[in-house]
């Protein structure tokens, strides 16, 4: 029983931390759900690589409240994100938008894949081209000599 409890404790401690406080939460579970989902894709501008959903920073708390206010005012999810991006730039979105300034960023995996494929094809071609031609009669004779340890 104790072992089970200990295991449960370990498993629970592995859950992602959540910073949202009970007093911030909305009464409407559907809206609260949307607020949480949005909080998870909005970057905390202080901690920079944490979402505001898991950040304890006071400005993250302010942004969580702001998101809930916007949702209560009837904003769609996209309108809330646009509202934030108008003030903080797309930096505030943990997932950068796909626009001309980020084409290279999003395209990089595809580029690397293409580069790898090109290298692979080139290597295979070279290997095939380099396959040894059969030995000529003269070469066979020399090889026999060498193997027998005869004079060069």
């Amino acid at each position: 029983m104790r072992a089970l409890l200990a295991l449960l404790l370990v498993l629970l401690s592995a859950l992602p931390s959540v910073a949202v406080q009970p007093d911030e939460m909305l009464d409407d579970p559907a809206l609260e759900q949307r607020a949480r989902a949005l909080s998870q894709i909005v970057r905390c501008v202080v901690c920079q690589n944490e979402s505001i959903d898991s950040s304890q920073a006071s400005i993250a708390r302010d942004l969580r409240r702001l998101i809930r206010e916007r949702l209560l005012a009837g904003d769609s999810d996209q309108e809330v994100l646009d509202y934030l991006a108008a003030r903080y730039g797309s930096f505030i979105l943990l997932e950068p938008p796909f626009d001309p300034s980020t084409w290279l960023l999003w395209g990089a995996p595809v580029l690397v894949l293409l580069l790898g494929a090109a290298l692979l094809v080139a290597t295979l071609r070279r290997r095939r081209a380099g396959e040894a031609a059969p030995l000529s009669a003269e070469e066979e004779r020399r090889l026999d000599e060498l193997l027998r340890g005869g004079p060069q």
Partner: protein, 182 residues
């Protein structure tokens, strides 16, 4: 061709080293979040005055007509205290007006702070909730914005002002904005 291929790791190393050298030696601050406000109108906010400070609050019109440095600060913020003498120095200049937004502060603490160190601000808007800070897109205090006569944000500085940036960046920019507007 295979001979040259041997050099490839060396070339890759040199290219990487060059990229790192440029990144390290330049003044670029990777932690600085680019402001979307630059070259755009400053947020039109109405903020109540700081009671006891003797200066008015902030209205949208406060940011027009004169080159203005908007400083977001708080009494609990040590870098704000560090930059305060520079703000006092800037406030004594004719070509510039300095106004403050008191961010997430207790009014009593803020007035005590100004009584102790002097008040460089021609107007102070109180932002207890931090909502005005979000409108300005700040990540903390202190941050400073330079706004031209038309109310357009021209420059943003994250963190405390320092004498070097003042001489090299801020003062020339203020001069330039004043000339452009006259």
């Amino acid at each position: 061709m295979p001979r040259l291929l041997v050099l490839l790791p060396v070339l890759l190393f040199l290219a990487a080293a060059a990229a790192f050298a440029v990144a390290l030696l330049s003044d670029r601050r990777p932690d600085a979040i680019p402001s979307v406000l630059l070259e755009r109108p400053a947020p039109a906010l109405s903020l109540p005055a700081l009671v006891g400070s003797g200066v008015p609050g902030i209205e949208p019109a406060t940011l027009r007509g004169q080159v203005t440095l908007v400083n977001l600060w708080a009494s609990w913020c040590l870098p704000c205290q560090a930059e305060h003498p520079l703000l006092m120095q800037l406030a004594s200049r004719d070509e510039l007006r300095v106004i403050g937004i008191d961010w997430k502060d207790k009014p009593g603490d803020a007035t005590a702070f100004l009584a102790r160190l002097g008040n460089p601000f021609a107007a102070i808007g109180v932002d207890e909730s931090g909502r005005a800070g979000i409108e300005w897109g700040i990540s903390g205090v202190p941050e400073s914005f330079l706004v031209d006569r038309a109310g357009i944000v021209r420059f943003r500085w994250v963190g405390a002002l320092d004498p070097v940036m003042l001489e090299e960046t801020l003062l020339p920019l203020i001069e330039q904005l004043n000339e452009a507007g006259s």
